[in-house]
């Protein structure tokens, strides 16, 4: 999976028109004439939104997580967006359809830290796994009459214990135990560093005015896009915090299980405007409230570490829960157009889908034949 982050200036006075075009697409993704969103088979998640700050005025932010290389992605984007001119003609410097790829590359920003739940999956493989699980569910519904006796019969077969299998399982356990050990040690080191400078004697009373923040946001669930201002001279510390996040995200946890949260598809940070501002883009399961709960209970170290390098962050960090929520809402933007490839599936669903598919594939290709114990435990996960 790769990431695309593009920021382009909106032509003066054209921000409302641009928003209207995007909202028009969002209103009918399947049948609008501008952007055939439903034909997209490379994008995991894409969001288009108009952002604003006093220094830069209105800008269009396009952020997407996609499969393959950038050129082929942009070619595909052009193919399914016959009305691309209607969108980008509202932006400064847009040369037209023929110069689209170069235009995007000129306004492209690198991602500094990137967590992906399933690095080895594409939109296609995820959709395939969902389809396999749905088929198994339907088969079990329809043919429960023979499936139950069959599985009971399988249960009576002797369990195939091979030496190789035992060794494999033992090594897997040892690998996980070793990984948990070094992650634990690393976190013990990282946590006090990331929260260094934060105060503990903060006020337990939140500013009553904070309750008003975010009242303009109507759709908070499922994705978060924030733009914060980096404090002067904090770039090295910020970079270190982001690197720690990325390292742990890559090597510290099983796929889909960053910090054992189990609700994060992806998150990433992108520095813009000469390291002055920081964009955070995440895709998550369920409600914003649930997301906040996960933040505070499980990954307080990760976010405190990054955000205490940004302006107006609560002095006590995320532990000042209401102040933190007000702060993050004050930095949050709502996309005019949001597209997710598999919106009805949670990360935990996908973890289970992967397990089912991998186990089935292993069974089919196993030289030693059908493993009744594994088959039973597999189906019992449904």
């Amino acid at each position: 999976m790769n990431a695309l982050t593009v920021l382009v200036k909106v032509r003066p006075g054209r921000e409302v028109e641009l928003k209207d075009v995007l909202l028009h697409v969002q209103a009918d993704p399947a049948r609008n004439e501008i952007f055939h969103v439903n034909e997209d088979c490379k994008t995991h998640c894409a969001r288009w939104m108009v952002i604003h700050d006093t220094e830069n005025g209105f800008r269009l932010l396009l952020a997407a997580e996609f499969d393959g290389d950038l050129d082929s992605y942009l070619t595909e984007l052009l193919r399914i967006t016959p009305g691309i001119d209607k969108i980008f003609s509202n932006c400064e410097g847009y040369p037209g359809r023929d110069g689209f790829n170069d235009f995007i590359r000129r306004n492209y920003y690198e991602t500094q830290a990137f967590y992906i739940a399933f690095r080895d999956e594409t939109v296609g493989t995820i959709r395939d796994k969902i389809a396999v699980r749905r088929t198994i569910e339907r088969l079990l519904d329809r043919y429960a009459g023979w499936a139950v006796p069959l599985l009971e019969a399988l249960g009576r077969l002797p369990v195939a214990h091979s030496f190789a299998k035992s060794v494999r399982q033992g090594m897997q356990k040892a690998r996980i135990a070793f990984r948990d050990w070094w992650v634990g040690i690393l976190l013990d080191i990282i946590k006090p560093i990331t929260q260094w400078g934060q105060i503990t004697n903060y006020s337990r009373v939140t500013d009553p005015a904070d309750v008003q923040v975010g009242r303009n946001l109507s759709r908070l669930d499922g994705q978060m896009t924030t733009i914060t201002e980096v404090k002067p001279w904090r770039y090295p510390r910020l970079r270190l915090a982001m690197a720690a996040n990325e390292f742990l995200a890559k090597y510290g946890y099983d796929p889909g299980q960053f910090a054992n949260v189990g609700t994060l598809y992806s998150f990433r940070w992108v520095l813009i405007d000469n390291r002055k501002r920081l964009i955070f883009l995440s895709v998550f399961d369920g409600s914003w409230q649930n997301y906040m709960g996960d933040f505070i209970d499980k990954i307080i170290w990760a976010l405190d570490g990054v955000y205490n390098n940004t302006k107006n962050y609560p002095p006590g960090g995320m532990k000042q829960i209401d102040a933190f929520q007000a702060w993050i809402l004050s930095c949050q933007y709502q996309p005019q157009l949001l597209f997710k490839s598999y919106p009805d599936e949670t990360v935990l669903n996908l973890i289970r889908d992967r397990k089912i598919n991998q186990s089935l594939a292993a069974q089919l290709y196993a030289a030693g034949g059908f493993d009744s114990e594994e088959a039973r435990s597999l189906l019992q996960t449904l």
């Binding site: 569910e137 079990l140 499936a147 249960g155 009373v205 009553p208 409600s287 532990k319 449904l382």
Partner: protein, 492 residues
Amino acid sequence: MLASPPTQSLAPSFLPDVQGIVFSGYGQLPHARYIFFHFTSRPEARAWVASVLPLVTTAEPYPVVNGRKQKPDKALNLAFTPAGLVALGISQETMDTFPLEFVSGIESRSAILGDTGISAPENWDVGGPKNPVIHAMLMAFGREEHILAAFVAEQEKLVERTYGGVVQIVEESGYRHPDQKEHFGFHDGVSQPDIDGIGRVPHGDPSCIKRGEVVLGHLNAYDTYPLSPVVPDSQDPAQLLPRLPDGAYPHLRDLGRNGSYIVYRKLAQDVAGFWEFFEKHAGADSFAMIQLAAKMVGRWPSGAPITLRPDFDDLRLANDNQFDYMPQDPDGYRCPIGSHIRRANPRDSKVNDTPDESTQTSSRHRLVRRALSYGKPLFRRDALDRGEAPIGLQDDGHPRGLHFFSINASITRHFEFVQQTWCDSPTFNAEFETKDPIIGSNDGKGYMTIQGCPVRTRVGNMPRFVTVRGGSYMFMPGLTALRFLSTPLQSS
């Protein structure tokens, strides 16, 4: 277990400032009226609040005479909607310090709550766009029906004295049947959170929830004070309201102190449809019908948790709430993962959490629930406890259901979270295409998965057994705040 008021000697000093319904389900008062009002005159409305104020029941411990608690034979509580607070003269400055979900109202939260289709606010009897705007709700309770009737008559006289300044919109009746069951036939209200220092719960007990989870002005689960509505000093010339805790923001006064948010839901129950469904899926076999229904609820009709008694109902466990899922039922073979009680309070069983993490998360989303039935029972529910299901049950066309109230310090973190993230989510705890089988916004297309060995079974085409017929988000002020709201405004 319903929380009972504490004994006098151990009672925290703030209790006389909290309305009684917050900490007590008034178990001795099984008859209720919920009367909804609209204000047309600010001075008259304030005068009405002043006249009701002395009658409001507080959470103050009951007096003890000769070793016996003297429980009252009637009780009264009062709550206001945002529109009601504005009608009483609360300034926009103060309204801006109430949370968005409260100010925008329950009707605007339909998508989050699953109040769609026949449950949409357009179809409601109470609240919603087609009915008069609710400003206040009076909750009156009585030991006997005639005591309650006389009490309500007194209230009507107080309303008459406002000469139309306070108009009654609708009156709803509720009752607790002696069998303690709701209309489907299940013992209701068993699981309530224990609150720090309230009732028999000692102060500092780690298994209970913090007071600030329920009432404003007290520390919550995050060791901070919940966001509380405030009034500028200048708008409280008599200095009735307390200052914010810890001397914070000294130019403001705390309107929320000892108050709570209260969510009202009128929930119609399709009793005949409920049992017809189980008859269809389990055959006309009483035990199989009851067992399947119990799998969906998570408790047997007596209230006994199926986690503790998976094979048969056990009246001895009717009020048992001291259990967790993970020690004996991690996979949902006893109590399905998607069952009603395992969604509403997953306890230690949230997938992907350790039991301790799950218990902590669950404790941050507990609801103080108060519910009474309306409408006559459709069948003899005590027969369920003898293993007799109502086979061939026919609807009689009369409305019946539950007046449900959720009392919390945060509507989003408590009521809305449980409804949206746990009960109505098709993917709760890594499930697929399932919603709460009892209160979910099922549309006839979803499933209920019943985990089992060797393989799960799924019950398809789940219909909606519970329809929302009314609702409102209200604020139930503390007694001091009520006094503030009852004081004549200088401008009026």
